[in-house]
Assembly symmetry: C2
Homo-oligomer: 168 residues x 2
DNA sequence: CCCGATTCAGTTGTGCACGATCTAATCGCG
DNA sequence: CGCGATTAGATCGTGCACAACTGAATCGGG
């Protein structure tokens, strides 16, 4: 029976409170940064077969969930702003997966819509999450715990960064 | 707002339905990606006072831990390769924080060394991890759990990616 | 009806990431 | 000793991220 200890916990004695440490390996931020890059690298060959990059894949996930949304709504889902999304969407449009047109009722807004090819790509993408899940090798409980902690962390960090105006 | 089964399904084993889901919010990879960007964004204003970007800060952490290492060794610590580190180090050198010179005993290798300014910057950086730790708002237990899970995940993913299927 | 403020998407500039490729130095084996 | 293989670092091209800015469309108050 495997224990999640295979990386080994090399007895970090002497540092009960790592919060103020300047050691690279003590930093949660570095674990996060390294994990995120590892995962996107692992996705790369799978997504290459679909002609997508990793952020493009996330955009497609959002569109498969809800089609015909504005750039702004996409940005809210993915926590990205237009300066990242605009060129990305332009590439997806060039690839024939989406189309963009101004909303008749509000010309400021651009509706992002799946093309037939974009809709059909979903079937080919179905196997991707499972393959990644297996590569991650976490138990369902660990997976759920990780997601929960990451969401909690993100919520806290965003709340701290989005300094509430009006209350001091 | 209609958000489907987020944590409503108690059946975790037996039917890992979430593992094969294409819903954005079910994806651990997205939680990871969003958390990582949130954290670096939170770091930005703090590091700006030190004249560092987030990856530059990680390089400095590594150097404060062990000075005078090769580009390759830095890359091993940070899991970055020379195509990322070379320009980054060039900017740190231009900022006067490090110096680079070829090793006399092996002219292929470049020793990265802290300058006086680079060494002294450490004191100004001492308060950064604690400030971030507070913004993350995790208990020490949650922090430790998150680090453990992220390291485990990274190890698995890297092992799966490095895996050369020498089928014979 | 006009004008200032706001909203939305896009553009620009800087700095990562990373695959592919290059060059030079070093190693290894006959 | 010679020469192919390996290693270290740098360079190039593509594609994110994100701050700062532009410009058009819309809204709101007088």
């Amino acid at each position: 029976m495997d224990h999640p200890d295979e990386q080994g916990s090399p007895a970090k004695q002497g540092s009960p409170d790592e919060q103020g440490s300047l050691l690279l390996q003590d930093q949660l931020c570095f674990a996060l940064y390294a994990a995120s890059r590892s995962v996107t690298t692992r996705y790369r060959p799978l997504l290459e077969e679909l002609g997508l990059t990793y952020p493009q894949y996330l955009v497609m996930l959002a569109l498969w969930e809800q089609d015909s949304v504005s750039v702004r709504e996409l940005g809210a889902s993915l926590q990205l702003d237009s300066s990242t999304l605009s060129p990305l969407l332009k590439r997806l449009e060039a690839a024939g997966l989406i189309s963009r047109r101004r909303r008749p009722d509000d010309e400021r807004s651009v509706a992002v819509t799946l093309t037939r090819a974009g809709t059909e790509l979903r079937e080919r993408a179905r196997s991707v999450p499972l393959a990644i899940g297996q590569a991650m090798g976490l138990t369902p409980e660990q997976d759920a715990t990780a997601k929960q902690l990451l969401r909690l962390l993100t919520a806290h960090v965003n709340a701290a960064g989005t300094d509430r105006p009006g209350s001091s």
